[in-house]
Amino acid sequence: MYLYSELDQQLIDERVEQYRDQTRRFLAGQIPEAEFRILRLQNGLYIQRHAPMLRIAINYGLLSSTQLRGLAKVSRDYDRGYAHFTTRQNIQFNWPTLESVPDLLADLAKVQMHSIQTSGSCIRSVTSDHLAGVVAGEIEDPRPWSEIIRQWAALHPEFAYLPRKFKIAVTGCEQDRAAVQVHDIGVRLTRNTSGDCGFEILVGGGLGRTPMIGKQIRAFLPQQDLLSYLEAILRVYNLLGRRDNKFKSRIKILVDALGADAFRDKVEAEWLQIKDSNLRLTQAKIDRVKGYFQPPAYEADASADSSYAAKLASERDFAVWIERNSFAHKVPGYRAVTLTLKGLLQVPGNVTDVQMDAVADLADRYNFGEIRSTHEQNLVFAHVKQADLYPLWQQLLALNLARPVVGTIQDMIVCPGLDFCSLANAETHSVAREINTRFDDLDYLYELGEIKLRMSGCINACAHHHVAHIGILGVDKKGEQYYQFTLGGSSATDASLGKVLGKSVPQAEVADTLEKILALFVEIRIEGERFIDTVRRVGNQPFKEHVYAVDH
């Protein structure tokens, strides 16, 4: 993984001291509240319902065991012994005090972690594919490009006061696990007809109040032009994006208002002015960053082991876990494994300090000291030798990190909701618990096949419910919590926005409604069909009739 240079380290250390001084001046009354709000958000600090919430960047989801131990320590020293993985591969602390944040950040800086641009109207931390570098058929590893973008975006002097937040995702694979079509900019590695590797650039995707799928503004961008092209997009947006209405200030609204063609013309005109400037990437620079993402030292004879096959044959639960929670690796004898942060009665994405320390130890023993966070709020060990899978599984079971629910409705993505977030209209955690309790028969879940269920507590859509196969959105109706269902969304390569099923239902009826949807699906699916494909085949109408049928 990327190793910080002295200058990278100096930058985050200086940023901590800068923020310490900003906090001091705010507490001394020298910075007005409205101004400090912007400053603290640029440094990841929200003021939430109960306490501040601090979001720490995990750039493109990549963590070392040392960093995870650092996060565990901070959760003990400054918080209540747990933390929450977010839908953008970052991690949040819910209880630090405003006064203690500079010290907390100084501690994290010792393990090369920071909160730079994890919130606010600036370029947010870059997200990518959690299986980068290990899946077969990848066009190119997206992580070096994510790192190059991170460096360029970090404290960029021109783009710290954008009209609104700005999110960039990078994928190197046909199969999209980074949801690039619902980002402000989606960067897809691709090849042109002569076989050169470059980028397809999508702009103006996003969720929230006005969900939109990103539009392609360039089919092929040469690699050395990545930063100049991104800078051109950002400059056009910074100058022309709306600032009069925060609900209309994302780049998707600008792209939609101008039309993708006119927007592209503006970007290309700006880009022509700067493509040969010092933003042009040299091959030396590209190679240097790629050098940090070389494969670990895989063992050549890993597939010669016979214990794995024996355990698969003799231990059904282990075999189920392998089938559900692991992925094929491009190197024979290795698999990638998901550690599910979806305990039955737990908040999706939450981990305790004890779990973090234990996972760090397991990563050292079995996974080259590396941990990845996913946008589905799980963790991944990307390089586990097959002989190690059984002992790893046993230890994950003891940590409650081995529930074999990946891809089922128990693997739901859930935002913090009304319990923590001051924007939320409705609770999400209690509803998630209700759903998990109702649908706890794993064989039934496996029979249903892959279903992406996501629940957001408000229209800001932090859980990306619009692009869920089944989306649930919490809404406030005269002080009561109601939940609206959408069906047929996807954030994968076949991205689509879900359509609203019908009128929202009260909290007590969410699990019943889901049950009706699933019952009808089982009834009408063609054998082997995924839920999303059934919805695409028949539309919402049969589901709507079934859910809202008057009981006789």
Partner: protein, 169 residues
């Protein structure tokens, strides 16, 4: 109003800001004026005939390519930050410097400690600061963060990062 030029406080400012025709008429022909863009457009000829230096105060929604032909005649451009959330002028300044404008670019409006470094990095060399928000300590803003991950206006090195310049030499 306190003024910082090239990261140092400056006590004498010869420039006079002109918002309307009446103010303009009251000025001596050799006074150096910062004229509002609207006013300039009404009487470009009259302003061209003056002997004093000309500066323009532009709104932050102006497409600065409209100024291209005018740049050789301007000694100063004042850009506007109407609020602490508004960062359009950062991009205007980048474009002005790129177009070769080498006169003074002066930040006006919501100009405070925590944006001085970004302003400087984008190519703003003069900052006009509300007296209530000015303190001598705020000059620290320029050195709080010394690492540069982006090349800025006027940087000599040819790569995108200070880091790369070090690695490649």
């Amino acid at each position: 109003m306190p003024l910082i030029i090239n990261q140092q406080p400056v006590s004498d400012d010869r420039w006079i800001s002109i918002l309307d025709a009446e103010q303009l008429a009251a000025q001596a022909a050799d006074a150096d004026l910062i004229v509002a863009w609207d006013l300039y457009q009404q009487q470009p000829q009259a302003l061209a005939e003056r002997s004093g230096q000309l500066g323009l105060a532009i709104p932050n929604d102006l497409d600065v390519t409209e100024l291209t032909a005018l740049l050789p005649r301007l000694a100063l451009i004042a850009v506007d930050f109407p609020s602490f959330a508004d960062g359009r002028a950062f991009s205007q300044v980048q474009q002005l410097r790129r177009a070769g404008f080498s006169g003074q670019i002066r930040a006006c409006g919501d100009v405070t400690w925590d944006r001085l470094r970004f302003m400087h990095r984008c190519g703003i060399d003069a900052m006009q600061i509300d007296a209530q928000r000015y303190t001598p300590e705020m000059l620290r803003a320029f050195t709080e963060i010394k690492v540069r991950n982006q090349a800025a206006a006027g940087d000599a090195h040819s790569l995108s990062r200070q880091q790369d310049a070090l690695n490649d030499h």
